[in-house]
């Protein structure tokens, strides 16, 4: 398997040489996925909070729909969005197809259900006394929400990491609504798909390494923060 090793070391070399095209592709992935996550985060947390703390008709239906949305394939999201954003579709006048904002919208749709579902279970697992104490101390609903957010911050962080992992690694929606245009909408995953088609495995491997290192860093830092907070609490 000499070939495998040659490819791998060439990929490391390409990463270290600071190849601008390669890092530009990484930049597209990050700007799209971070934007999608930031836009989706607050609405998703609010939705999760409301589903956890308010009883209203249709609540269970809403939760069931959300949980089913977790399983929606990325290509289906891409397909629906493509039809909506195409010039021939209802939102064609926005001129968004094959742009980064289109990719961002696709990824928002993909991470929103995940963020809601994971924050919902975080809020449900939280100690109800936190909220009651906050209310007794005269907190308005917004302050109570913020207090609770702080209380379950690590579970929420885990939700954010999971959501980021889902969208930065997805290829279906990005390929369809982004179009894989160099310097514009070519991100890590669509580039890997393209380079493999050209038989250029080196760049594909290099980009794959970026994704793996990213996953490792995110999860290690999450674990570190959690254990650090435990030490703090026990110390106090």
């Amino acid at each position: 398997m000499n070939d495998l090793w040659t490819t791998f070391s060439a990929a490391i070399g390409q990463l270290l040489s600071g190849d601008p095209e390669l890092w530009g592709i990484v930049g597209v992935s990050f700007s799209v996925s971070v934007s999608a996550l930031l836009i989706a985060l607050l609405p998703a947390l609010t939705t999760g909070f409301m589903l956890a703390y308010f009883r209203f008709p249709g609540r269970w239906a809403a939760i069931s729909v959300l949980n089913s949305l977790l399983a929606v394939p990325t290509v289906v999201v891409g397909l629906v969005l493509y039809m909506l954003l195409s010039r021939a579709g209802p939102l064609g006048d926005l001129n968004l197809l094959f742009t980064r904002p289109a990719m961002i919208i696709g990824q928002i749709l993909l991470c929103f259900p995940l963020l809601v579902a994971m924050s919902l279970s975080a809020f449900q697992a939280a100690d109800h006394r936190v909220l009651e104490t906050a209310k007794t101390l005269g907190a308005n609903p917004w302050q109570a929400f913020v207090t609770l957010l702080f209380e379950v911050r690590f579970a929420l962080l885990a939700a954010v990491v999971a959501a980021f992992g889902r969208i930065i690694a997805e290829v279906g929606s990005a390929m369809m609504v982004g179009g894989n245009i160099l310097h514009h909408t070519r991100n890590i995953t669509t580039a890997i798909a393209l380079e493999t088609g050209k038989g250029e495995f080196v760049q594909g491997v290099a980009l794959g390494i970026v994704l793996l290192v990213l996953a490792l860093v995110l999860n290690v830092s999450l674990g570190w923060m959690q254990s650090y907070s435990r030490v703090l609490r026990h110390g106090a």
Binding site: R87, A88, F98, I104, T196, K198, G199
Partner: protein, 278 residues
């Protein structure tokens, strides 16, 4: 815990800024056009080569979307791109007849070839014509990878089967549903035959365990046309810049660049501002 609301405000501001940046960066180029073209021109490296030369004479950014011919024409029909460069004469004629495109011009041609496993177990290289070759593959029930994606190459291959009067229903006939590069690699991994344009074959052959088994049949000519998306139907298309690019492609300068594009010293595409007389 007073700092949390502050954090939230900062977070919202940052979000807004990122959205604005994302929207702006998508339109950063002063002038740009979108070209839907085939995976054969892209995977061979021709498009990158052409665009690096076009960048010297024009400020227009050309954004390339590489898909099969069928999909490229569909994008033109919907007005999602400004121009297309494809290689399926019949489908292109329909596209023009229905008023989706205007000003079609022949740009270049090359030819299709049949490639297969090193041992050529179906003895295709002994065949005189491409139809005989395909019959040999079908008769010996060897594996044949079809693109199966409504691309120009796929349309051509189906025409050849049609010409034989049979549908490719033998068990070894597999549809990859992917681009030319992926399909060639599948054929290489599986020891299968496939039909490819010569450009992609020359660009990839060093990485494949395949060899050329059949070529030079007049039926295998593969010509590329550039077509502008009809601005009467889609007023938003960037017709002026698209026309300039198309005219550059067929100009003596653009044609020279196409003729100069070589891999391992071999010409991949023959410039043909007028389509070959066949």
């Amino acid at each position: 815990m007073n700092y949390l609301p502050l954090l939230l405000i900062r977070f919202v501001l940052a979000t807004v800024m990122i959205i604005v940046l994302a929207l702006v960066s998508g339109r950063a180029l002063a002038d740009s056009i979108r070209l839907a073209t085939t995976t054969s021109t892209y995977n061979s490296g021709l498009l990158d080569y052409l665009l690096s030369h076009y960048a010297k004479v024009s400020d227009t950014g050309v954004q390339v979307i590489a898909v099969g011919t069928g999909k490229a024409l569909k994008m033109g029909e919907n007005g999602d791109v400004d121009l297309v460069m494809t290689h399926a004469p019949n489908a292109e004629a329909r596209f023009l007849d229905q008023g989706f495109g205007i000003e079609a011009q022949g740009v270049m041609f090359n030819d299709f070839v049949i490639v297969g496993p090193e041992d050529d177990s179906a003895k295709v290289s002994a065949a005189d014509t491409v139809t005989d070759g395909l019959l040999l593959i079908a008769a010996s029930n060897k594996r044949f990878i079809s693109r199966g994606d409504d691309s120009g190459t796929h349309k051509k291959e189906l025409q050849l089967w049609q010409h034989l009067g049979t549908l490719p229903t033998f068990k070894g006939y597999l549809e990859s549903g992917r681009g030319m590069g992926h399909s060639l690699q599948m054929a290489s991994e599986m020891g299968a035959y496939t039909m490819t344009d010569r450009g992609t074959w020359l660009a990839l052959q060093d990485k494949l365990a395949l060899r050329l088994v059949l070529e030079s049949d007049p039926r295998l000519i593969n010509s590329y046309q550039v077509i502008l998306v009809n601005p009467t139907r889609h007023p938003h298309v960037n017709i002026d810049s698209a026309r300039k690019f198309a005219q550059w492609l067929v100009s003596s300068e653009g044609q020279e660049v196409i003729g100069n594009f070589r891999i391992n010293g071999e010409v991949l595409f023959v410039p043909a501002a007028k389509p070959p007389a066949r």
